[in-house]
Homo-oligomer: 279 residues x 2
């Protein structure tokens, strides 16, 4: 589904920049680039990085080195966000200034809504490894954003936090795009792609299932598992069981084939090699 | 908001285990523990890890070393999941067997729903760094789970993937807890009220299903529906089909009873009234 609107997704996500302030460890910059690229976000702005450039950045950004060429380096956070409409400052909950605070999911939804509807430029700002953003820096944000972590152990490192934020931004983008394409949904079961196997069979209809259940019950009568005079709860249980699955056409034909084979055996019309009676 | 129901969250998340198969790099195990702890998930099971123990695990798991003591080591994936009701195999979309596939968000919602309503045990299985899970391992899962990444660069490493999956599990748990404060949920399967019917049977575990499939296949051999020399895709299709259902104990016994009856008929050890041969 999301593959259909890849281009919209990337153009939406193109309005987002990740800003890292005063980062100390080059490895965190490399990991951030990789996290960003997996989610199709490509603009990183570094505010006065402590160590840049550095080979660890390239090493950790394996496969995302094209984003290194796009990195912008600036001296202050003000410069990093000056052309943005919407700025989120990330913060651990406990030690921040009072400010409008959003969890990352609604924050991402707000960001994508503003990008889609108003072509806004959005920045997500991450602080230093050891002490985050200063109160002055946090005051430059429209909103503060937090990731709901285990309160007894709230120590996501900056690259992990960027991974989750970028993931939520991508999810918000995909959700907006799929809502936009008026949901070209199919009645097919979503399965793993594999071109040479056709597994995405259409699901059978209730009408077909109304032939399936009597067939199964007749088979169970034939093997004397079901007493038609006293079926008890068996037919109901089987409807409940197979009603939960939603069979696809292949599975439906397969099971009906099994029923027919069992019936043929019970009628003696299938020459079973185990019996060696007649041939 | 989520602070109110922290205790419910942690008890829900206590039903989840992360399973890493054949992990090569100790650093990935350490990072996984840290990612888990930030999201309050504490059970890691390692299936035949390449290097364990190792000081890099402790180093990367900074602050999450209490989870190291809880790690379980097993030889096979079957052992890791034998007491689980619901198993998700993580896979990159492109190179896996066809199987019911869920994005990580709906997968996490399903997991937490089944934990909350049925006290299920849930496993999320992650594969090798270089080549993921084998098709045989993927076939042990009820569902495959994927993270919707940039299709041009789908290279989340295993620790990053675990971070996102644990985050979504925690979000699903927090959402359920906040919804629960108004709902008085029961631990029974939601069915139409009818006092004299006991429908809320416990669901069977993966270990029981590992007896179910061979029984079904033997039965299909006996009626010559399955050729053991050339089973083609049939065993896989049946695993996929019944893996979607999650049988309860009653249904499980019922189906195994059917298999045994069919076998007895095919062996001529069941006196079938339709045949009128011997009695």
């Amino acid at each position: 589904m999301q593959d259909l609107d890849q281009s919209n997704t990337s153009s939406n996500l193109g309005h987002i920049r990740i800003v890292m302030v005063n980062t100390t460890l080059p490895a965190n910059i490399g990991s951030a680039l990789r996290a960003m690229k997996t989610m199709e976000i490509s603009q990183l702005v570094l505010v006065a990085p402590k160590t840049y450039p550095h080979p660890d950045i390239d090493a950790l950004a394996a496969g995302a080195t094209d984003l290194i060429d796009k990195i912008k380096i600036v001296d202050t956070l003000e410069e990093a966000i000056e052309d943005c409409h919407l700025v989120f400052g990330t913060s651990a909950r406990s030690r921040t200034i009072p400010w409008p605070l959003l969890d990352v999911r609604p924050a991402a939804e707000l960001a994508l809504k503003n990008i889609t509807e108003h072509q806004q430029e959005v920045a997500i700002v991450f602080g230093r490894e050891d002490r985050g953003l200063t109160n002055e820096e946090l005051a430059l944000a429209n909103f503060h954003m937090t990731i709901p972590v285990n309160s007894a152990y709230g120590v996501l490192n900056v690259a992990q936090a960027i991974q989750i934020v970028c993931y939520e931004l991508r999810m918000a983008s995909l959700n907006i795009c799929s809502a936009e394409t008026t949901n070209t949904s199919t009645d097919k079961m979503p399965v793993t792609d594999q071109a040479d196997m056709v597994w995405d069979e259409p699901l059978v209809t209730q009408k077909q299932m109304q032939e399936f259940y009597p067939h199964m019950e007749k088979m169970l009568e034939d093997i004397e598992f079901l007493d038609p005079q006293n079926p008890r709860l068996l037919p109901l249980r089987l409807r409940r069981l197979f009603g939960r699955i939603q069979l696809d056409r292949m599975e439906y034909n397969l099971l009906r084939g099994v029923f027919s084979r069992v019936q043929a055996m019970s009628h003696g019309t299938w020459k079973n090699n185990n019996n060696h009676n007649e041939d």
